[in-house]
């Protein structure tokens, strides 16, 4: 807990603020955090937000309490549920979805994600679970990356395996999709975004009680210089009240 709210609660609030009204958000495995963020955004500044929970294909599900399971039967009372192959179609269509919530075993300076293998793919030091839908990141308007571990092990200069494409590391790289790429990275320590020219990750804000030096030490690459770093605005009383109403089981606050 940082003061009167947990780190997860802060992260959920930060992600919620990143979702804009009318957008369509898609999330995958272990959806508790992005689900909380989407539900919170929808109940505050983004009443026309839509959100799709991974394997269930549900749109705007309102489970009683958050869930960590992307195919939870608790998601079924939703005003719409798409068969998963139809979600896959929309992911590839390129103009249907706005925000893809992503993560990785490794996340690099250009926002590439790796859920497949640390080390050599053929003989990995760490085999990840696999990449599910992350290859569709560049076909989505933009992505929000979140990670529960902010350490040099996770935040690396270059992922060992690109399973969720981020920004091109060089302006020569041809990425002509509609996508804007990753727009925000949310961690337990800070929020980070990307230099609009070099597309390299930079520190945007540190969470209350965290120093810039601590973030630098926890990051395995040199972030791009950017505007002065602020403190992440903490949850408002309204945000926290609404969030806890969505999370009676205390999945985020515990």
């Amino acid at each position: 807990m940082t003061g009167a709210f947990s780190t997860s609660e802060l992260m959920a609030v930060v992600m919620a603020r990143e979702f804009r009204d009318g957008e369509v958000v898609v999330m995958g495995a272990v959806p508790a955090l992005p689900l909380a963020a989407a539900m919170l955004a929808k109940s505050t500044h983004a009443p026309s937000l839509s959100y799709i929970v991974g394997g269930s294909g549900t749109v705007n599900a309102t489970p009683i309490g958050l869930t960590t399971l992307s195919c939870d039967a608790a998601l079924a009372p939703a005003p719409s549920a798409l068969p998963l192959p139809e979600v896959v179609l929309l992911e590839g269509r390129g103009d249907a979805l706005d925000v893809f919530c992503a993560g990785g075993l490794q996340i690099d300076a250009y926002g590439n994600c790796n859920l497949i293998a640390v080390g050599e793919w053929a003989a990995p030091a760490l085999r990840g679970p696999g990449t599910v839908g992350l290859p569709f990141l560049p076909a989505t308007k933009r992505s929000v990356i979140y990670a529960m571990d902010h350490s040099p092990r996770t935040f690396v200069e270059r992922v060992d395996f690109v399973s969720g494409p981020g920004h091109p590391a060089s302006p020569d790289e041809d990425r002509t999709y509609r996508g804007e790429g990753p727009s925000l990275v949310v961690t337990p320590l800070a929020t980070l975004d990307f230099d609009p020219t070099t597309r390299r990750m930079r520190l945007r804000s540190v969470h209350p009680g965290v120093t810039e030096a601590e973030v630098a030490e926890a990051t395995g690459f040199e972030p791009a210089p950017g505007p002065p770093v602020s403190e992440t605005p903490p949850p408002s009383e309204e945000e926290l009240t609404l969030l806890r109403r969505l999370d009676p089981g205390g999945l985020l606050s515990g």
């Binding site: 839509s50 705007n60 005003p79 719409s80 549920a81 139809e86 896959v88 590839g92 269509r93």
Partner: protein, 280 residues
Amino acid sequence: MPGRFLEAEEAVAEFVPSGATIAVGGMHMTAAPMALVTAMVRSGVRTGTLVTSPSASLQAELPVAAGLVDEIMSPYVGFEDLGLAPRFRKAVESGELRVVEIDEGSLTHALYAGAGGIPFLACPPGVDLTDIPRVSPELFRRVRNPFTGDEGWAIAGLRPDVTLLAAAEADEDGNVALGRFPFTDRLMALAARRLVVQVERTVDSGAMAARAPGDTIPGFLVSAVVVAPGGCLPTSYPGFYDRDEGAIRTYLKAARAPETLEAWLADLTGADPARGAEDS
């Protein structure tokens, strides 16, 4: 952004530009979006390419009869037991209507590809033994299978500018439920750049939750909802009404001669905008 509730003419004016590729849902004489199609005809909107379900009836015949279709892409236009589509037939025979020849399989897969950002796919067996690819060079191209080296036909993804569908219900957020055989209406919805849905009635959001996965279309895909009870007549909407066979026969009889057709069309689309699909 979830769909807005509009009148049929408003929805057509806002989302159905002239000259566009328009897909109309419903199969045979079931669930044809006649309220929307009638509004298109009433508004005089020209269709560049009219794409239909694997089988269409009045939802294709009516805009063709009104002389508002440049080109049609449909695996079947007709009236099952009631016979051929008279104006479609005449328009093709006279050369007024260009046909982009396509079959059910190729259309289905083209919509799947269009919905999924799949640039093209190799056709399954069968169509290669027909004359269809020969007369539709804009749809079918030869491609070499990079896995086997075999040559075959490919079809590209198809993305209608607008799809018009009929559904049973919509809630206040523009989520819609079909409540019937889905036909290819879901793929048409997913592949479209804009989707306009007419519904028999509105319901509370809570009512949608009881629907089976795959029966609903989420509001974020829906540009506009038009509430049009009876709006599929004279075709049927399962659970609401059967087709009006008499009305279809009346049309088929009227379509035999230009003067009677003109009168029938004037009656349907005449100056009085209060007269909707129910009168058809």
